[in-house]
């Protein structure tokens, strides 16, 4: 190569800190101290939100103590309320573990875990009210668990048997539960982000007092929908919370591919004129605090807010994925923000509200509860032991009312 060419423009190709066989390395991450940021006024604008978008809101320090202004902001939470959150996180993880195993045994075709990200959905859902609507990705099952969605329905959907509220029409994990504030999951990434903005516009136009929450992963922020969602939210200012779950990996695609030259995903949202915060997503108290603040802001009519939840996808992308092909096997163990369940446990023990024994006991109880429901649901059919859905279900819900040609098809099928 000539000297001239070497001086010319050069492309960059983002690469992760470590590949398989190398040592996991997160040393380049700038992780601020817990308690470093204050609580902004609810009407904050995008310009003033700069420190929150570039920094990171954290409450629990390494010793498990809740510190700083955000600790005060969520301070009144009772031990029992925190334990409810703990149990929902443990329940989510138990379901993930058992559903993964069920897929490995051929009982279902597909599953997606959210291991390491449980705090985000569980903490966020706690701050919503009836009628508020999440537009989740396929990795937000923690929202559903925290909303009290029956385990029978949740697992029935995975097994696509007669416990399935969606009557066998949708891929496993693509739940849909209107009454639990969980919009139908779209397998096409991102579509629901801009729909959340539209739903929130409908909320504002009808003045029903409800809000919407869009969810997107770091990888899908590269999609059109993310950008149109931020733009339209910024233009019309409806009551919507735009969540970005940055779990560092989009299947094998390193987060730097979607981040480009931006400092954080939150800072990119600021560029659209939306105030944004970045949060330690593995810190249950930080999640509770920021979700409370964000819900209050948008419900009061101060306009949209974007939140980057900083976390790490511990499990494979899905049951079709093998992460050992693209990242160090032990990378999750090196994640500097730890495990959300472990961190809350440490905090509760430090508070005197919990103990290792009670934790182990609860874990056993939850496993037992999940296993019992699983057995019951599996008795109604799995892929190994299929019990067909009613064939009539195939023709339902194509249109609001069944058109004549589908009625004829149903008659032809004899159902």
């Amino acid at each position: 190569m000539s000297e001239k060419q070497q001086d010319g423009p050069r492309l960059t190709f983002p690469h992760p800190p470590a590949r398989p066989g190398e040592r996991a390395d997160f040393s380049s991450l700038d992780i601020p101290e817990a308690g470093a940021l204050d609580v902004p006024p609810p009407e904050i604008d995008s310009i003033a939100s700069r420190p929150y978008a570039n920094g990171m809101i954290r409450v629990l320090n390494d010793a498990g103590e809740a510190v700083g202004p955000w600790a005060d902001y969520v301070g009144q939470v009772s031990d029992e309320a925190l334990l409810d959150g703990m149990r929902d996180m443990m329940r989510t993880r138990a379901i993930d573990t058992r559903m993964l195993n069920a897929q490995r045994q051929g009982k279902t075709s597909f599953y997606l875990q959210c291991t390491g990200e449980e705090a985000i959905g569980v903490g966020f859902q706690r701050q919503l009210q009836a009628g508020d609507m999440n537009f989740p990705t396929y990795r937000q099952q923690s929202l559903l668990v925290a909303a009290g969605y029956p385990l029978e329905a949740l697992m029935g959907q995975i097994y696509s048997n007669d416990f399935d509220p969606l009557q066998g029409r949708q891929l496993p994990i693509m739940h849909s539960a209107r009454d639990y504030g969980y919009f139908s999951v779209s397998g096409n990434l991102g579509t629901q982000y801009v729909q959340a903005v539209g739903w929130a516009m409908a909320n504002a136009l009808t003045r029903n007092g409800q809000i919407a929450a869009g969810w997107i992963g770091d990888g899908a922020t590269a999609s059109n929908d993310y950008h149109s969602g931020l733009l339209t939210a910024s233009t019309y200012r409806p009551p919507v919370i735009l969540n970005i779950v940055n779990n560092q990996w989009a299947i094998s695609t390193y987060t730097g591919e979607a981040l480009g030259g931006a400092r954080t995903y939150a800072s990119r949202a600021r560029g659209y004129g939306i105030p944004a915060l970045r949060v330690d997503g593995n810190d249950y108290l930080a999640v509770l605090g920021v979700a409370k603040w964000a819900v209050a802001r948008v419900r009061a009519g101060h306009g949209p807010v974007a939140i980057e939840w900083f976390t790490y996808r511990v499990a494979a992308h899905s049951t079709s994925d093998d992460p050992s092909a693209y990242r160090p096997k032990d990378e999750a163990r090196s994640w500097p923000l730890g495990d959300p369940i472990e961190r809350l446990k440490t905090h509760l023990i430090a508070r005197g509200a919990w103990s290792e024994e009670r934790h182990a006991q609860t874990e056993a109880q939850i496993t037992d509860e999940v296993r019992t429901v699983q057995k019951e649901v599996e008795s109604h059919g799995t892929l190994v032991d299929p019990q067909p859905m009613s064939s009539a279900s195939i023709l339902k819900g194509v249109y609001a009312e069944m058109p004549p040609h589908l009625i004829r098809q149903r008659q032809d099928m004899g159902v």
Binding site: Q170, Q192, A202, A212
Partner: protein
Amino acid sequence: MATEILMPALSPTMEEGTLAKWLVKEGDEVASGDILAEIETDKATMEFEAVDEGVVGKILVAEGTEGVKVNTPIAVLLEEGEDASAAEAASKPAETQEDEDGTKAATESASKPEAKAPAKAKSEKAKSEPDAGAIPEPDWPEGTELKSQTVRECLRDAMAEEMRRSEGVFLMGEEVAEYQGAYKISQGLLDEFGAKRVIDTPITEHGFAGIAVGAAFGGLNPIVEFMTFNFAMQAIDQIINSAAKTLYMSGGQMGCPIVFRGPNGAAARVGAQHSQDYAAWYAQIPGLKVAMPYSASDAKGLLKSAIRDPNPVIFLENEILYGKSFDVPVLDDYTVPFGKARIWREGGDVTIVSFGIGMTYALEAAGRLAEDGIEAEVIDLRTLRPLDYDTVIASVKKTNRCVTVEEGWPVSSIGNHLSATLMERAFDYLDAPVINCMGKDVPMPYAANLEKHALVTTDEVVEAVRQVTYR
């Protein structure tokens, strides 16, 4: 030498306009590029510049005149040194040039612009609909009062009536509010309903289709205007994967009552990326309903039905049809049901099936064929999903021959689908293979003569009918 200044065409589809304002007066010197007048069309107001330099000899059409046909002389430009008599000569028909008192005639002509100005568009029965008496099953009771309205007016009226009827109905899209619509379909809606219900959007079809889908999920009834359906390609994921499928995927929990509407198909000389007919694309999708009206009354009645429908509806309009006038019933609440074809003309020799602008060729062809003693039955499908198979099949059982007409491409077309359906359900009644008259299998070229070749023509329909009738 004096030259006539002609009424300019501001777009390839413009046929007439309003001479809103003269910015020069007789006797003014003008240079090339000077603004002579403001011309208004139903789409826009534009300034009209002088091409040559000279002196304005005479103004032939007074300002404020409506319905001035393109290419009508509107003024006379004199070269330096010429006097008004030259203007007279240029503006008068040949036989009056011998008039001795030329100056007087010129004055009269200038002072009576209405003498030369064309009649107002509304009083003109321009290209009015074919013989309505031939409609065997009218959509309105006999004796109903009718008035002549354009497709454009009917679309606006349909939206306005439904917006008055239900608070949840609102319109969004590019240029729909302040600009009154890129094709002036939303004229007056902003004034009546305000910015909350007539919403200008950023230029992102994907984005505003997405928020509208979200608002429909949230219980409102959005009408999304695409400036053309070609631009809706950007929003196709929202339309197909979300709007059409979510009711099904959610086990019936979340439906999407929404209308996507806008011009579809070829206009005139807008090239490959602005001329596509999407009828067959959308008609393929379970979960969507698809309407493609031809007449003004159908545009109104079907759009009102579409807005009330709890399902997502694709409403395919046509830029060339916007300005066409038809008889429209004067009724408080006129709706047309989906899935019911309209027989425009009865006949026993051949069935011609079409929809949207294809009806123009179908009806023209039927008229010409009748002169040769071939009586065609002409069916307008009106909606493509649901599609009124029964009316088509009943007709083919009577005529034993069928020709389909549409502007879209030949592969996997509506015509192909009808051919297959007739083979399945009326095979024994067919005396000839069904012929699909289609657009050519090429992207739309720009040049006028090439574009003409690419589109389906009346000649092709006539020829197809001769083939299937062996005449």
